[in-house]
């Protein structure tokens, strides 16, 4: 059957020479095409600059939302930022599509720093993989209860003493 709607969303990160991150998120769907780019200072994870454009939109008035992006400049990526972005850029007084792309950029940053820890748990040997995962959990007790793999009754946690 022919599709009535399609969406493609992708996000990328590159490390800049000064150690900052350049994060870009793009949405291209049947009716909208927009991009948001942020620069993030490390280690504080402050959004030092933000830029965006709407190349295609169902309504021309959607362009009015671009200045809203600047609400995100100066924010730090950390606890509570998702709600902050949704409140400042999204909702019925903003543009949920642009807010969503900023959140996509933020997700990218978190995953980018998660990657080294995940890599350390990966091994060809299954026992080594389990051992690596348990060590990751021990060092990051915030993972406890975050998903089925790290549920309190998960076999991965059996006998594991977590960091206080």
């Amino acid at each position: 059957m022919v599709l009535s709607y399609t969406r493609n969303k992708y996000a990328t990160i590159t490390d800049l020479e000064d150690g900052s991150l350049l994060v870009r998120a793009t949405l291209e769907d049947s009716f909208f095409a927009c991009t948001v780019e942020i620069e993030v200072k490390v280690p504080d994870l402050e959004i030092t600059s933000i830029w965006g454009e709407i190349k295609r939109a169902f309504n021309e008035e959607c362009q009015e939302a671009i200045p809203l992006l600047q609400e995100a400049a100066g924010l730090r990526i950390g606890s509570g930022i998702n709600k902050t972005i949704s409140d400042l850029v999204g909702g019925s007084e903003g543009c949920p599509k642009l807010a969503d792309l900023i959140l996509e950029c933020i997700d990218e940053v978190v995953l980018r720093f998660t990657l080294p820890t995940i890599k350390e748990t990966q091994s060809i040997d299954e026992q080594e993989r389990i051992k690596g995962t348990r060590e990751m959990l021990r060092q990051n007790p915030g993972l406890l209860g975050s998903c089925i793999a790290f549920a309190e009754d998960s076999p991965l946690l059996k006998g594991l003493e977590l960091e206080k």
């Binding site: 022919v2 990160i13 049947s30 309504n59 939302a65 019925s92 903003g94 998903c147």
Partner: protein
């Protein structure tokens, strides 16, 4: 030139096999995870009637158990209050946050298809009405569309 240090792609395709059904097929692929979803939603309530998923790449031996937790989403309705929060809890926290992410992407795609899908057909038949009138009619049949952004909230007044 810098190389990528992380990337993620999400693709969603929506079919409408009949006037009361949306079928979404979604894929998420990033440096760590790869997964896929098929979601069926029924009108008029935009109720999730079927959710099926598959893993391609995951990180722990327990991750495959998250597939069964997708069934927690069946029966939920996209326009209901706190829908996204519920999905993050019953599919995400109880299963896998990445499946929850992709499921929300599929559901958002379905609402977009509901809002704008008919416009494409009208354009192709060269029968497209004036946009504002089209949208105001859609405000009645697509819950949440009217207050979804600054442009539509203004239009709805």
């Amino acid at each position: 030139m810098s190389t990528l240090t992380f990337a993620r792609s999400k693709i969603v395709g929506i079919e409408c096999p009949d006037e009361n059904t949306f079928l979404a097929h979604g894929i998420l692929d990033d440096y760590i995870y790869a997964l896929e979803l098929d979601v069926e939603v029924k009108l008029p309530d935009f109720e999730l009637s079927s959710v099926q998923g598959r893993w391609k790449r995951y990180t722990t031996p327990e991750c495959p158990k998250a597939i069964a937790k997708l069934q927690n989403a069946v029966g939920l309705r996209i326009p209901e209050k706190d829908f996204a929060r519920k999905i993050r809890r019953v599919v995400g926290k109880e299963g896998c946050t990445h499946f929850a992410n992709l499921l929300l992407e599929c559901c958002d795609g379905i609402m977009q298809a509901a809002a704008y899908g008919g416009w494409k057909d009208l354009e192709e038949k060269k029968a497209a009405p004036e946009k504002e009138g089209y949208l105001k009619r859609k405000f009645e049949s697509v819950p949440g569309l009217e207050d979804s952004c600054m442009v539509y909230a203004r239009m709805g007044k």
